[in-house]
Subunit: 431 residues, 2 copies
């Protein structure tokens, strides 16, 4: 029998994920070797601080003090980057490894969504793999599915819930009737949010994932134009109003090709209670791929955490062990395209608009006139007086209207003396 | 630049799926060649009847009258079998092709679930691919996901809705309040069921898929022991009762490892209205994989039809073009295991039991006594008089009880003189 090839692996970064992966690879050597018909050795590890308390047993000869020295080791075949961040050590390590013709596996969405095009060119030139399944939606095997399982399809739209923290916060506000700030505190306490959850909450994390999924879905280069809104302005009243109107609020990412332009956007979105997306609660992620000939395909699973991320990292490592060399973005770089960017203002949405107004004669009449002047037609109005304040809350659901017109409406409204608080806009997904 | 390798393809069987695939491959040559970094030629086609009306243009030199002659062609690399059926031509072609060291792609679940082990041994010995993504749940890339995207995971349970026809029938009976026979007629008319839908309705189609998914999930050989019940006895009253009790009825397939035994089963199942599975309607399929470290992963999509099946077939062809040679059942045959078979009678379910009884004193008391004698504890009872008949319908929901005890209860009940109709059992899924 032919002897199996042995791949030498180095892990750089030993936080929760790196440590989990380290143990997993040690405990599943035989099984992975059998399935992939190749062997691997966990040759080296490196991290900022050797003395940090970790639940792993590193042998003395495995430890490399300076991660740069790993690049000098001729015998390392696969570098697993778990440092994080688009710049600094992570960037240096990944560029360095690919230049040295080493395969790279990374969970770093910031890095890939910023330098993916450059990195992919080096990988293709040097015929090594650059794998980043773990960078998008943790354990949901969406990248591999687009590149392999759904390879036949011309994808025209990809969207879904790509951030577990914000989904946990919104679900939890809805179920427990708690405020945004209270819920964030709970999320941090229970480990569903990092101590600084800014990039999860402000939509940046989703934006990175949308950019990566766009490239894979449309065979395009990274497009940096993306409309991003987070969830920090969502309050209990929005959640209550949505419920009354038959909706749930979800932070969603969308990317689609329309008239040969690419539209990328991230924003809180109202979805019908009876829809599939409304049922995706807690830290779950869900990706919906719409393409031909397949129609709609859904993949759902745990979006984050050491266990789910390790599942993704190991699928990447396995792909390399099987010798399955692939283009990082599904197709050769010289075949990738640049689509012109579309503007969210040119898209049409039914929208939820909430304004707080002083309680006086003629306000509703003036408000509705502004809508009509901007060619936004109103489908439904909910007006209710605010407690102990001489003010009312007005919620308007519009018919499908051009987003630019809705934004103009909001701008005009904002200037009116009867408006107490900046008008709020939430788009509705009817798909 | 290195010249790309060219693979010669032969398609055998040109029904709806074969014809769709033929056109798709002709129209997507460039794109597939770019993505897979290899070229292909659609060299030969063969089918029973050359003169059948098809929407495809076959060149004279492509047509092979007798499919056996394809096996003799040295230059054919990939044989795509779309004849169907576990025996006869399909069997001969697939065994023949693998023996001649040709790659095989097939959508034939009957063949794979019966002869998969033998075929897999030949493929492994001859280092060619045997690919059958299209045999399970059409366009849902479940096989590739288990073998690649979820490769890290130890799967302990796989289940879901694996048959579009029966799911369409049950959803449609529920939504349109139509009878089983009426709905089947409509399904045939609209093309959601074949003119003879027996294997879709009686559970056999799901059983084949469960057997294949078991092998992939548990690294085991095909296990022929499976408990199979179809949907033909479900009537409008069951649908109504389920709705009243907060459930939907779905035909589901399950495979799981418990105490080192494999339990495979197919039966109509009550699922909570609020559950994900209840939301999977019409011809959709959904597969839920439960494993470690991933937790639960869901994949949903169109389960049948030429478009979805072609998506799966092309993912198989692409895998071969990329030179991604893999074990057909995820692991080498000499590492596959045989699990002893468990019996459904040893599992515990909460169950829905419906009996029709003559309206007379003491019946309910006798019925409940039989349950108690068999150690089945009752959670809920619905009794309602049948119209214009001196009889009642009794629906009992049990607490979790051993299935054997429930079956004994039904047998005892069936013998009672006050029972008008064979008692009916539907198991409840609480997962």
């Amino acid at each position: 029998m032919k002897k199996k090839k042995v791949y030498n692996i180095a892990i750089v970064g030993l936080g929760n994920i790196g440590s989990y992966l380290f143990n997993f690879l040690n405990n599943n050597k035989n099984n992975l070797s059998n399935k992939n018909n190749a062997n691997f050795k966990l040759l080296y590890v490196s991290a900022k601080n050797r003395n940090k308390k970790r639940n792993i047993r590193i042998k003395k000869k495995q430890w490399i003090k300076n991660y740069n020295d790993i690049l000098k080791k001729e015998n390392v075949d696969i570098v697993i980057e778990l440092i994080g961040g688009a710049e600094g050590a992570a960037k240096k390590l990944v560029f360095g490894a690919l230049n040295k013709k080493k395969h790279v596996v990374t969970a770093n969405k910031a890095l890939i969504s910023k330098y993916g095009d450059k990195l992919s060119k080096i990988a293709e030139k040097n015929k090594v793999n650059l794998e980043f399944e773990a960078s998008v939606c943790g354990g949901v095997p969406i990248i591999r599915s687009i590149k392999e399982g759904l390879i036949a399809n011309k994808i025209n739209r990809i969207y879904g819930i790509f951030n577990g923290t914000s989904n946990y916060v919104l679900s939890s506000m809805d179920i427990n009737k708690t405020s945004f700030n209270e819920t964030i505190k709970k999320a941090i306490k229970f480990g569903y949010a990092e101590s600084n959850p800014a990039s999860d909450i402000n939509g940046d994390d989703v934006a990175s994932k949308v950019k990566i999924l766009s490239c894979l879905s449309f065979n395009s280069f990274i497009n940096k134009n993306i409309h991003v809104e987070g969830i920090k302005d969502i309050d209990e009243e929005d959640i209550n109003n949505s419920n009354k109107l038959g909706y749930k609020i979800k932070l969603m990412g969308f990317s689609e090709i329309l008239n040969n332009k690419i539209y990328q956007r991230v924003h809180p979105t109202l979805v019908k209670k009876s829809s599939y997306i409304a049922s995706v609660n807690g830290v779950l992620n869900a990706v919906i791929v719409d393409g031909k000939p397949i129609g709609k395909n859904i993949i759902q699973g745990d979006g984050a955490g050491p266990a789910a991320t390790t599942s993704a990292l190991v699928s990447d490592i396995s792909s390399i062990l099987r010798g399955n060399i692939k283009f990082p973005f599904a197709i050769s770089n010289n075949k990738r395209k640049n689509f012109p960017s579309g503007n969210i203002g040119d898209l049409y949405f039914s929208s939820y608009i909430r304004i707080n107004v002083k309680d006086k004669y003629g306000v509703l009449s003036d408000v509705t006139k502004i809508f009509s002047n901007n060619k936004v037609s109103i489908k439904r109005v909910l007006q209710s007086p605010n407690k102990n304040k001489k003010s009312s809350s007005i919620v308007i659901i519009t018919h499908r209207s051009k987003d630019n017109n809705i934004q103009k409406t909001l701008k005009t409204l904002a200037k009116k003396s009867y408006i107490i608080q900046k008008p709020k806009l939430l788009r509705i997904e009817n798909g």
